[in-house]
Symmetry: C2
Subunit: 300 residues, 2 copies
Amino acid sequence: MGDGHYIAGDWGTTRLRLSLCQGDAVVDSAAGDGIAALAEPAEAHFLRLTENWRRRFANLPVFFCGMVGSRLGWREAPYAPCPGSADAIARHAIRFQSHGFTVAIAPGLTCTNPLGAPDVMRGEETQIQGAVALNPHLAKGRQLLALPGTHSKWVLLDNGVVKQFLTVPAGEVFALLADHSTLTRGADRGRMPLENFRAGVARQAETALLPALFEVRTRQLIEGLSPDQALGFLSGLMIGADVAAALQSFGRDLPVAAIGEPALVRLYLTALADYGVHGESIDGSACVLAGLRAIFGVPN
Amino acid sequence: MGDGHYIAGDWGTTRLRLSLCQGDAVVDSAAGDGIAALAEPAEAHFLRLTENWRRRFANLPVFFCGMVGSRLGWREAPYAPCPGSADAIARHAIRFQSHGFTVAIAPGLTCTNPLGAPDVMRGEETQIQGAVALNPHLAKGRQLLALPGTHSKWVLLDNGVVKQFLTVPAGEVFALLADHSTLTRGADRGRMPLENFRAGVARQAETALLPALFEVRTRQLIEGLSPDQALGFLSGLMIGADVAAALQSFGRDLPVAAIGEPALVRLYLTALADYGVHGESIDGSACVLAGLRAIFGVPN
């Protein structure tokens, strides 16, 4: 089994990150195409990227999470129902042989969310287990975890187990409106004033979201907001609506920890604070690898 | 003054429609580029398209409405404040000479909408005056007019005068989500089942819009909705949210008349009916020309 070496893979929609690991250490790494961008079958892409590693070590175990397990991925790993502990995720993983490898793919999770609708995650279940492994205080009692992004996940953790979650596609809708709508043009995402962001958070709390979106335009035309200010207002509307949906679903009494890209996490913590909720920031960079180790164990 | 001939122009963001008219009759027509698509100055474009008409008739009066009067148009016709009667719109029109023409451009309207935000319309003020002129019952008492579309307008009419209005960018957000999002792919807008549309209308009434958008995806993954069914659900969410914002703003007790593309108007009347509100459909095809006549008078 190659001196305890193994391959850990984070294979999402837009990119593939492969790590050759030994224990907790990353020995080598490689990057490839996401599931939605593949120009060849997933297996062929994987074999090509790992050729050197496979020459050095026979029978490397391979552990994957993410869209690689979706219907459009390498092989489908059907969603496991909540509660989602590391053990339960491992039990629902699929395992198969490929050219002498044993490949394991973590399943996504599904639940009925607090709004009564079916909900899914794929990839985040592993990040969450990594966050818990790296931050032991998250494994104690009830926590609300925020994973903001294209499809934000709000996760109710109970002693490290995912009990229920809610997805809010705030990042995707924001990107579509910022890049392709007539509401605002020519703004720079790096220059959104915090004041306008907070005005957006406050505005969505007092009115319906859809008509408020048009204010992104009229506040430029009539009130003289600059495009950067208007984009900040739009960001506040969307992130505010995301936070509001989560707090309405899970209440305001849980400790909140946000995992993700630091600038985005800061905006979420600001919006949460404007709702009177304190949240902490968790470094997400090592969570996927730690999650794969927590779910699949580290080979000896 | 050319035997009572005049040019009526509907010059919007995406297209220009010019009509050579005499009294109520359209004698000839021409189509050109919208303000956002112009490859030459607006005046040059206009002069080129009307060359033959100008050869036949000297000193044709020209009446315009739409984005031609925006900052990016031919010349700015600043927004007039509500209340917006035909007379008030005419008083705020701008008039100037161009190569022997007298050009008049109707102003847009502005108001503080029922949600307390600045709001604007440009072009619809003329459509509305035309609808009132062609449908005399709309000129009596209080009415709620719906002009669904990219940026839906909901207009409180009092004896034919625009008192206040609300813009909801439902059509724009729907188009972005339908054409560019990961929520649903490969659907055919002509094949959205009414049942799923109505489920979407009902769903947005019971939960926040932003998290409900993700259900467009999960109801396909978990509940087996087809892409066409999911698109119908999405359409119901957006049009339902549009109607809900209007009814919350203006109440449910006013008679409602919807003007626009017939298939879209039918969906709005369905959503209104699901809220217990009856609406009538108004033919919008002749409204702009009738509105220009109502605002500027017909030359003799």
